[in-house]
């Protein structure tokens, strides 16, 4: 404190007391940050085994949820590409009269829960089936069209609640013209529900592993504090503030987090590269042009920031608890 400095230095002495002006202090402050970072880095390199182990713990704890989240994101894109709007396919009786069908379509159009009604004659249904199924040649062998005339009913967005859909289906099914009502895309909805569930699980797992990173880094820093006890005591004795003592330890935690995140990025990258082959052949078997989305730059930056944040927090937790115990 400037006050005590003046008080205690009232005496004129031969040696000139150099005044530390603010700029000098700021320079020294940033210089100590730089020195702390560099010495922390050197210390990590000087103990490669311990550094590698902690880094790998951090890396695995980050890579596991990151890989799962990216895989999930990919599956979600598949789900989104498919039309998620549920539809009802209403198969009409083959013998239904065209004017009865027209009347039925008008009736359906008036239904408030239905947004769109599309009618396909038996021939149109056959054409569409030939195009999408790839069984055109086999269908040529048939004497008559086995497909019924079909009405595709798209409910209002508000009506995609399963209960309302069921009610709508049974209402439509009650008509004597209708043979069968089939839900389309129900499985896509289920898939999306499962995805949401999985995402929650992965996030929960990520949180647990995040706590694991905090503890792993915290424990390593705690050991570091133990091994530097003498240094900390002497530093405090010659007037080092807690912040001064803390700084290199926090940088050590930060570096563990960043190293771990860099390793994790490699792990994720390799995992996705290894997955991309099988995924491509699977997609090809479904005549889909789907390709796996690879770990991007923004994912990489987020992962490194997350790692740095976790490492720093872990170090902070350990330092806060341990440092107050070490007093000269």
């Amino acid at each position: 404190m400037p006050n005590s400095r003046q008080n205690i230095h009232t005496k004129e002495r031969g040696a000139k007391q150099a005044k530390l002006h603010i700029m000098g202090r700021m320079q020294a402050y940033s210089a100590h940050h730089k020195v702390s970072l560099i010495t922390s880095f050197r210390k990590l390199i000087s103990r490669p085994i311990q550094t590698l182990l902690t880094t790998l713990v951090v890396a695995i704890a980050l890579a596991l949820p990151a890989t799962m989240l990216i895989a999930l994101k990919n599956v979600q894109t598949v789900g989104k590409n498919l039309n998620t709007q549920p539809k009802l396919s209403v198969y009409l009786n083959q013998k239904a009269k065209p004017n009865a069908i027209d009347a039925f379509i008008v009736e359906l159009n008036l239904n408030a829960t239905i947004s769109r009604v599309t009618f396909k004659t038996a021939d149109e249904a056959l054409q569409a089936f030939k195009l999408t199924s790839g069984m055109g040649d086999a269908l040529e062998l048939l004497d008559e069209n086995p497909l019924p005339p079909t009405i595709i009913v798209e409910p209002q967005a508000a009506a995609i609640d399963p209960v309302i859909l069921d009610a709508l289906a049974s209402e439509i099914g009650a008509s004597p013209l209708v043979d069968e009502v089939v839900f389309d895309m129900g499985w896509v909805r289920r898939l999306i529900d499962i995805m949401v569930l999985l995402e929650t699980l992965v996030l929960a797992l990520a949180c647990m592993l995040g706590v694991g990173v905090l503890l792993a880094v915290g424990n390593t820093i705690r050991l570091e504090i133990e091994s530097r006890r003498d240094e900390i005591v002497v530093t405090k004795l010659v007037g080092g503030t807690n912040a001064f003592v803390r700084r290199p330890l926090l940088y050590t935690g930060l570096l563990y987090g960043v190293f771990g995140a860099l390793c994790a990025s490699f792990i994720v990258l390799f995992a996705l590269l290894a997955l991309s082959g099988p995924v491509a052949s699977l997609a090809a078997s479904y005549q889909s042009s789907f390709t796996l989305n690879i770990f991007g730059l923004s994912d990489f930056i987020s992962l490194v920031l997350l790692g740095a944040g976790l490492g720093l927090s872990g170090a902070w937790l350990a330092v806060g608890r341990e440092l107050s115990n070490i007093e000269p």
């Binding site: 404190m1 006050n3 005590s4 400095r5 008080n7 205690i8 230095h9 009232t10 005496k11 004129e12 002495r13 031969g14 040696a15 007391q17 150099a18 530390l20 000098g24 202090r25 320079q27 020294a28 402050y29 210089a31 100590h32 020195v35 003498d230 240094e231 005591v233 002497v234 530093t235 405090k236 004795l237 010659v238 007037g239 080092g240 503030t241 807690n242 001064f244 007093e327 000269p328």
Partner: protein, 225 residues
């Protein structure tokens, strides 16, 4: 400079290390603190350094009442005081230069200024040629002198020494005492805890003798041995 008024220190164990101690020390004084081990010398030094706080009474150093000093101010208080330890408390993971530089780095000095001052301090204790060595390879007397260089590098107004010659032979002890006298002659207050009575007598300085935490003698010891 230092003023103790009815200072007592009772440790949580119940042991009373100091009881009702009152004395004043002038800022340009050099004084010795003596007494058997356990008499309270170290506790007295710890109170000045704020390594401990007084149970009762007032400790004033450099015009500041230490009883009222907040935890966050302790580091800044310590920068005003140089301390020499019996076991010198050097760090063996760095060079002599870096050991001596620590108080300056802690206080936020620019690296150019650090280099200049560290070399001046090492020159003063005659170890300028050892700055790049690890203190572990130095002799006991040299290590103690590194400790002294570190204590004075920040040009403190007050220098405390706890048994600075405890492990040294008489010739080295004389050298160390001569160094302390030199610092005192340029206006640094010096307080040395020691039980080396013959050495203290030879110095002809003010002596405070403690016994069971109380002051039993205050004055210059007669020079006969």
């Amino acid at each position: 400079m230092i003023s103790f008024t009815q200072v007592s220190k009772r440790y949580p164990s119940g042991h009373e290390a100091l009881s009702g101690l009152t004395f004043e020390m002038d800022s340009s004084e050099m004084l010795f603190l003596t007494g058997h081990s356990g008499a309270g010398k170290s506790t007295l030094l710890k109170l000045i350094m704020l390594m401990e706080r007084a149970s009762t009474g007032q400790v004033v150093v450099g015009g500041r009442n230490l009883n009222r000093m907040r935890q966050s101010q302790i580091a800044f208080h310590r920068r005003q005081i140089g301390v020499v330890f019996q076991n010198h408390q050097l760090l063996f993971d760095r060079t002599v230069f870096d050991n001596v530089a620590l108080p300056l780095q802690v206080a936020g000095y620019h690296s150019r200024e650090v280099g200049r001052r560290v070399r001046a301090a090492l020159d003063k204790v005659g170890l300028l040629d050892k700055e790049k060595q690890n203190p572990i390879v130095l002799s006991g007397g040299e290590q103690q002198r590194v400790g002294i260089a570190r204590a004075v590098v920040n040009k403190p107004a007050l220098l405390l020494a706890d048994e600075p010659t405890g492990n040294l032979d008489p010739i080295l002890s004389d050298e160390i005492m001569h160094l302390f006298e030199q610092f005192n002659s340029v206006g640094v207050g010096v307080m040395i805890a020691s039980h080396d009575v013959s050495l203290i007598k030879s110095m002809q300085k003010r002596v405070l003798t403690l016994a069971n935490g109380s002051l039993i003698y205050d004055g210059v010891l007669p020079a006969n041995a």
